[in-house]
């Protein structure tokens, strides 16, 4: 009789601590967020086991149940009883796709992490291609659904616009950010903070570490069961999230400078307003109340912005994420043949 290890987590108990005990780290972890996928789960499991089994690598599956209300959990638990390679991370309630991905990444133990959708639209047979690319030396490999099987107007066109925007703003030109089928080097992705609704931007978010990103074509199947759960959210959310990513990725380590840049136009406007007033004064005309007033308002605001920048600098200095840490995740070091000379 198999007996279960059921780890109950409360509060800040370190979930990874439990898994560090195992020495046999698999090569590959397949992470699948599930939300009411009772029909898809069995075929999905079978497809993963078959496709990944052919690769001849050690692997594990991490299924994350995002608070399903149907029989998903029962079905996965049943499968898990017969397959020790499967582990189910069960959320207390529905949290959304990003937390599900983040939890999967946190609980996975493999050296290469592959994320994919639970609705059978991604093809597990493509995992081998992703893995091969990672082993070529890439840090992140993203799938591109070149023959996407979705509705044109409601899904494909908005997604094309969003991808173009994301590429322009983040500087990571990926044709298909929305494709869940991606592979990551575990050491890198586990260090990237994922929160809010960043699942669409994981490569962009990871770009703060300067990873080597590759994009490969993957198959995409029409939805067989159920209906799509994670629709494209409103465009303004995407825009604001983008702004967050952009800010965080480029200016997080120099907040004061960023705020100073923001306050610069205000300074210039207030200078112009004051100049106007002084010229009026010299020429003996009456000073204009609205213009001088605007000058004062702009000057005050520029000062407050600068102070906010100082506050931001303080926050960063006291926070626990440093830009230079990320450089360590992707750096390559080459040493002269005789080895580096050690200074005594």
């Amino acid at each position: 009789m198999a007996s279960a290890i059921v780890t109950t987590e409360c509060g800040d108990v370190d979930a990874t601590a439990a898994s560090h005990g195992h020495e046999d780290r698999p090569t590959l972890s397949v992470i699948v967020p599930l939300y009411n996928e009772q029909e898809s789960v069995r075929p999905l499991y079978a497809a993963i086991v078959q496709a990944v089994g052919e690769l001849g690598r050690s692997f594990e599956m991490v299924f994350v149940d995002d608070g399903s209300t149907d029989d998903t959990v029962a079905i996965v638990t049943e499968i898990a009883r017969f397959d020790s390679r499967l582990r189910l991370v069960k959320f207390r309630r529905n949290y959304g796709q990003t937390p599900a991905m983040a939890a999967g990444i946190e609980h996975a133990r493999g050296e290469v992490l592959v994320t994919m959708d639970g609705d059978l639209q991604n093809d597990p047979a493509d995992i081998g291609l992703l893995l091969a690319k990672i082993e070529e030396g890439y840090d992140i490999v993203v799938g591109w659904r070149y023959n996407r099987q979705d509705k044109l107007v409601s899904r494909k066109i908005p997604s094309r616009i969003a991808n173009w925007l994301i590429g322009k703003v983040t500087g990571v030109p990926i044709r298909d950010n929305g494709c869940s089928l991606k592979a990551f080097r575990a050491d890198l992705i586990k260090q990237i903070p994922l929160y809010s609704e960043m699942h669409r931007f994981i490569p962009a978010m990871a770009s703060i570490a300067g990873p080597r990103i590759a994009e490969i074509k993957v198959r995409h199947h029409p939805r067989r069961y159920g209906q799509s759960k994670y629709g494209l959210s409103r465009i303004y959310k995407v825009l604001l999230d983008l702004m967050v990513i952009k800010t965080v990725a480029t200016f997080a380590s120099r907040p004061l400078r960023w705020f100073a840049v923001l306050s610069l136009p205000l300074f210039l406007v207030s200078c112009a307003a004051f100049a106007h007033s002084i010229v009026a004064l010299i020429n003996g005309r009456d000073m204009s109340m609205p213009i001088a007033g605007s000058g004062i308002v702009f000057l005050a605001s520029a000062m407050v912005l600068l102070c906010s920048g100082a506050l931001a600098e303080l926050t960063y200095a006291r926070g626990d994420i440093r830009d230079h840490e990320f450089s360590k995740l992707t750096q390559t070091i080459r040493v002269a043949r005789g080895g580096a000379r050690r200074i005594p």
């Binding site: 009789m1 198999a2 007996s3 279960a4 290890i5 059921v6 780890t7 109950t8 987590e9 409360c10 509060g11 800040d12 108990v13 979930a15 439990a18 608070g67 996965v76 638990t77 898990a80 009883r81 017969f82 020790s84 499967l86 582990r87 189910l88 991370v89 069960k90 959320f91 309630r93 949290y95 937390p99 983040a102 903070p193 929160y195 809010s196 959310k237 604001l240 800010t247 965080v248 997080a252 960023w258 705020f259 923001l262 205000l266 109340m289 609205p290 213009i291 007033g293 605007s294 308002v297 005050a300 605001s301 912005l305 906010s308 931001a312 926050t315 960063y316 926070g319 626990d320 994420i321």
Partner: protein, 347 residues
């Protein structure tokens, strides 16, 4: 998955603040209600600041050999702090928080505890509720607003009688005035919250005159819960919207003024609208900057902040007959801060 839960020991925490009844009669009423449940219990009274008469009453009860713990806080730290202090001294696997004044009838306490079988938190709501039409309207408006903001469906936030599984309390990190929102906060952590109708105490049925201060409290509660729900996760989205709209109005106004100045030669200098436009632009930028600041705070702490709560990790390790008992022992010996575990091994 989750085994049927029944608490084995109750801890009753009573924070004693400015509003309090005679503790002796209150204790007698609560005690009879708790004894009717038939579980071992302990009472923890937390005196939030020096409360002379209450301290004396509790001293007398202590001397009479009642099973009490009395915690004295040296100054008034607030009810949330008092609850946390009481919780740290408590040992039961179900926590019952009760107000220090007659709000519900003591004989109704068993309903709250019974509700824990299917929920992680039960909050009392006084029903049938006394009060005239104005009071009813006031309550309806307040709860309507709170429910609109939080997406919950609660009917009596003012009721201080709640039962919680110990794990829930351990994860709640209360501060300030958050004790009033325990139900909302617990639901946000993913716990199941149920409302239980309890009879209102006759003392509570007398209509009170609500001073403006109480309305102010309601208003502040509403604002704080609004920020808690809307702001703490996505500050830039919240502030960004407000900032962008403010900035946009200002920019439109200034463009309009500029066009008028250039095209129609109307003087810019004597128009107060210019000042308004400048103010709006500047305000918009600052609100936006605040959002950035909030986002930066979240980003720099993102590794410690988890957006999700994992109920359990289900994994059947490869096992043969010999190691299965070992694994079972392993499962039990996992470090847990909570004495009871809501889930049991699936066998």
């Amino acid at each position: 998955m989750t085994a049927p839960y029944s608490p084995s020991r109750l801890s009753i925490i009573v924070p004693v603040g400015a509003r309090r009844a005679d503790l002796k009669t209150l204790y007698a009423e609560y005690k009879s209600g708790v004894e009717a449940i038939g579980l071992p219990y302990e009472f923890v009274f937390v005196l939030d600041g020096p409360r002379g008469d209450a301290a004396r009453a509790l001293d007398e009860l202590l001397q009479a050999g009642e099973p009490l713990t009395v915690i004295n806080l040296t100054r008034c730290f607030g009810e949330a702090a008092a609850l946390m202090a009481g919780f740290e001294r408590s040992s039961g696997d179900a926590i019952l928080t009760l107000p220090a004044y007659h709000q519900i009838e003591g004989s109704e306490l068993h309903k709250l505890v019974a509700g824990l079988a299917t929920a992680d938190v039960t909050v009392g709501y006084r029903w049938p509720r006394a009060g005239n039409a104005i009071e009813k309207a006031r309550r309806a408006i307040f709860h309507g607003l709170v429910n609109f903001v939080t997406g919950s469906r609660l009917r009596d936030l003012g009721c201080g009688a709640r039962a919680l599984r110990r794990q829930v309390f351990a994860e709640l990190d209360l501060y300030g005035d958050q004790h009033r929102f325990i139900a909302i906060l617990a639901a946000r952590l993913g716990f199941r919250v149920a409302e239980v109708a309890v009879r209102q105490s006759p003392h509570d049925r007398r209509s009170r005159v609500y001073r403006p201060r109480e309305y102010l409290h309601h208003f502040l509660d509403l604002i704080s819960i609004f920020f808690l729900v809307r702001f703490t996760k996505k500050p830039l989205r919240f502030f960004g919207m407000i900032g962008a709209v403010t900035f946009g109005i200002g920019a439109l106004l200034i463009t309009y003024l500029g066009i008028e100045r250039i095209a129609f030669q109307s003087s810019l200098a004597d128009r107060p609208a210019l000042l308004l436009a400048a103010l709006l632009i500047v305000l918009g930028m600052q609100i936006f900057a605040l959002g950035l600041l909030g986002e930066l705070i979240i980003f720099t702490h993102a590794r410690n902040v988890k957006d999700y709560r994992v109920e359990e990790v289900i994994h059947y390790p490869e096992s043969d007959e010999a190691s299965s008992s070992e694994n079972a022992a392993d499962a039990r010996s996992r470090p847990k801060d909570v004495p009871h575990s809501p889930s049991s091994a699936v066998a």
